[in-house]
């Protein structure tokens, strides 16, 4: 479980959190080696979570585009409606092992908050979720789901009132309650051991893709895409495929696409710095103040990115690009009408990039896109922005 990815990663936190992070690291290493832990995780993922998820051939969409065949890794079908379940369940079981009784989490789109609330209910842990008030407004259905699952949702009013501020507030809560509480961080970001631990819990996505592709085609896919905010579904998709020949593309949120708008493309428009306990690419001004971000997809609306992505960008193993709000919104409607699937706005970014590339590829080539979540949460927001023609 690496702490460093080249110069990225590390653990830069107030002293009060250091012993808790060391304890978490040790517990996680022990759990990872423990067959009973792994088998309980697998059984719950299967019976409660609905894993493994299908690799679905998007036949209509592929035919329309007339190039490579596009497959969707259906993380939208996991219990709760997003890949966030994989990590929340793993860390929930770890919390029980640590003997802690209270969970806190941050959430942007609300999917991680919902997953944490489900796990809290299932494992009998009291759960509080920090969420920016802007996100609470635009992802209202998820706020209601969290409450119905017994969690307390705490609005965060600082700064741009989105994901970054929710993480700040969760960290402050953790500093105050570290002896009784586990911080169930939802992305592959933050201080060690979170990035490597979240990557491992999410790598079930990439492992299933690899297994299924061997069965279907006898080789890994030619091109694999995933959206990148903090980057947990992307790292879970990519990590098991790093040693294959598959081309890997991470897609960041480009915002409005107007001149000077960085959106939330930390890799595309940022540079290395320290935020939330990690060294990674950040959107920041020349003096190191973190910049506000803007994306139609709350789950991508974050000024940082997981440290392993920063490393994979520098090494060139993964290509990173971005897609604008409008392209993502158009993709939402397109997938709904061609395949009968309402996708979350986050993976619409990855889908839009796949749609760009498919026509330039041969019909015998395979594209896999991780459909990281379903779009029910976005329905109000998408309708508010207007239905297509």
């Amino acid at each position: 479980m690496p702490e460093w990815y080249g110069p990225y990663g590390g653990s830069f936190v107030p002293e009060t959190l250091v012993p808790a992070l060391k304890e978490l690291d040790a517990a996680w290493r022990a759990a990872h080696r423990d067959r009973a832990f792994r088998s309980e995780l697998q059984q719950l993922a299967r019976e409660w979570g609905g894993r493994p998820t299908p690799l679905y051939f998007a036949e209509n969409l592929s035919r329309e585009l007339g190039g490579a065949r596009i497959y969707l890794k259906r993380e939208d079908l996991v219990h709760g409606g997003a890949h966030k379940f994989n990590n929340a369940l793993g860390q929930g079981l770890l919390t029980r092992r640590l003997g802690k009784k209270r969970l806190i989490a941050e959430t942007g789109a609300g999917q991680h908050g919902v997953a944490t609330a489900m796990v809290g209910a299932k494992l009998g842990l009291s759960t509080e979720v920090y969420m920016g008030s802007v996100d609470m407004e635009r992802q209202r259905p998820n706020v209601l789901r969290m409450r119905l699952l017994g969690a307390t949702v705490r609005p965060v009013e600082q700064g741009s009132r989105t994901l970054k501020e929710a993480i700040n507030e969760a960290l402050r809560d953790w500093i105050a309650n570290v002896t009784t509480t586990h911080y169930l961080l939802g992305s592959a970001v933050g201080p060690h051991p979170y990035p490597s631990m979240v990557c491992e819990f999410q790598s079930v996505i990439g492992r299933e893709i690899l297994r299924e592709s061997r069965k279907l085609w006898g080789h890994p896919p030619d091109l694999v895409l995933a959206c990148v905010g903090g980057g947990s579904n992307a790292i879970g998709t990519f990590h098991p495929l790093l040693s294959t020949h598959a081309k890997l593309v991470g897609v960041e949120a480009g915002g409005t696409g107007n001149e000077g708008d960085r959106g939330a493309a930390s890799i595309g428009a940022g540079r290395p710095g320290i935020l939330h306990g990690m060294r990674s690419y950040l959107l920041q001004d020349e003096e190191g103040q973190i910049l506000p971000t803007e994306s139609v997809a709350p789950g991508l609306d974050y000024a940082g990115v997981g440290p392993e992505h920063a490393y994979l960008k520098d090494s060139g193993r993964v290509e990173y690009t971005s897609v604008t709000d409008d392209e993502a919104l158009r993709m939402f409607h397109r997938l709904a009408r061609t395949e009968g699937i309402l996708p979350a706005l986050e993976p619409c970014h990855a889908l839009a990039e796949a749609v760009r590339r498919a026509p330039t590829m041969r019909p015998d080539e395979i594209i896999v896109v991780t459909l990281s979540g379903r779009g029910d949460k976005d329905v109000e927001e998408v309708v508010r922005r207007g239905l297509p023609g």
């Binding site: 107030p14 600082q158 570290v178 103040q289």
Partner: protein, 270 residues
């Protein structure tokens, strides 16, 4: 002006306790900031922790968070900060307190030199763990700026000894599990778990007898000051309690009266 660390060490040697005040630069106009610093000096405060704002201050409670947001929106930047530091460090021994990223982006060595040439004699970064402190300690030693590390009630004995060994100037002991700030509020982060500091203070003093250890976070009343001095602290740092009064427009006389009420008994001015 003598360095903050040297002043605190000399006071510890003489058995005197010290009071430091933290104030966010840029949270009020510079003239008012300077006026307050003059008041602090005249009231017998022994040193200043001058805050440079960071957009995401994870160890701060609402008072300092709001002061940082206000300072950034009022346009506080590194250049003007150094100008203000130059003025303040003539009035009180001064350390700079901010977060790692602004210093990293400036370049650690360059930032240390700039702090030193503006008269600052210490740097405090709540998110700098001892494991990552070496480049700071080296650059700080070359420039003449103490890298002041923080310890916490959560620090186990082995780690406390490492912090005591590695810090310079003084050790900043966090009083409790929690962020900076005065109690109250509805968030769970405002319900703080306190911890007895006596054993930590004894351990630190036994291990490095000449090193001053000051307690901060949540110190807001004469009773708090007395408690920490009884536990064995060489002094206290008061931040939010003063910042709140200044942000609410308290007069210099009111600020002076408040900090005098916190001064450890029998502590003559610098």
């Amino acid at each position: 002006m003598a360095s903050l660390g040297d002043v605190l060490k000399a006071r510890r040697r003489r058995g005197q306790r010290s009071l430091l005040v933290y104030l966010m630069a840029g949270s009020v106009p510079d003239e008012r900031y300077l006026e307050v610093v003059e008041t602090l000096a005249a009231s017998g405060v022994h040193g200043l922790e001058m805050g440079f704002p960071f957009s995401d201050p994870m160890a701060e409670g609402p008072v300092i968070q709001n002061a940082a947001t206000l300072a950034l929106s009022r346009g506080m930047r590194w250049g003007p900060f150094l100008g203000l530091l130059r003025e303040c460090s003539r009035k009180l021994p001064t350390a700079v307190m901010t977060y790692m990223n602004p210093i990293e982006q400036r370049g650690v060595a360059r930032a240390m030199e700039e702090i030193a040439s503006a008269g600052g004699t210490g740097l405090i970064l709540p998110d700098l763990p001892v494991e990552a402190a070496l480049p700071y300690r080296k650059a700080g030693r070359a420039a003449g700026v103490d890298t002041i590390l923080l310890a916490s009630p959560a620090s186990p004995p082995q780690r406390l000894r490492r912090l005591v060994r590695s810090t310079s100037g003084f050790l900043y002991l966090v009083s409790r599990y929690g962020t900076t700030g005065i109690s109250g509020g509805t968030l769970p982060s405002a319900r703080y778990q306190t911890a007895p500091l006596g054993p930590l203070l004894r351990e630190a003093h036994e291990f490095r007898p000449r090193l001053p250890v000051l307690v901060g976070f949540g110190v807001q009343s004469p009773e708090d000051v007395q408690r920490h001095l009884t536990e064995g602290a060489d002094g206290v740092v008061v931040g939010s309690a003063v910042q709140k009064r200044i942000s609410e427009g308290a007069s210099p006389e009111e600020i002076g009266a408040f900090v005098q009420s916190l001064l450890p008994p029998g502590s003559p001015p610098v």
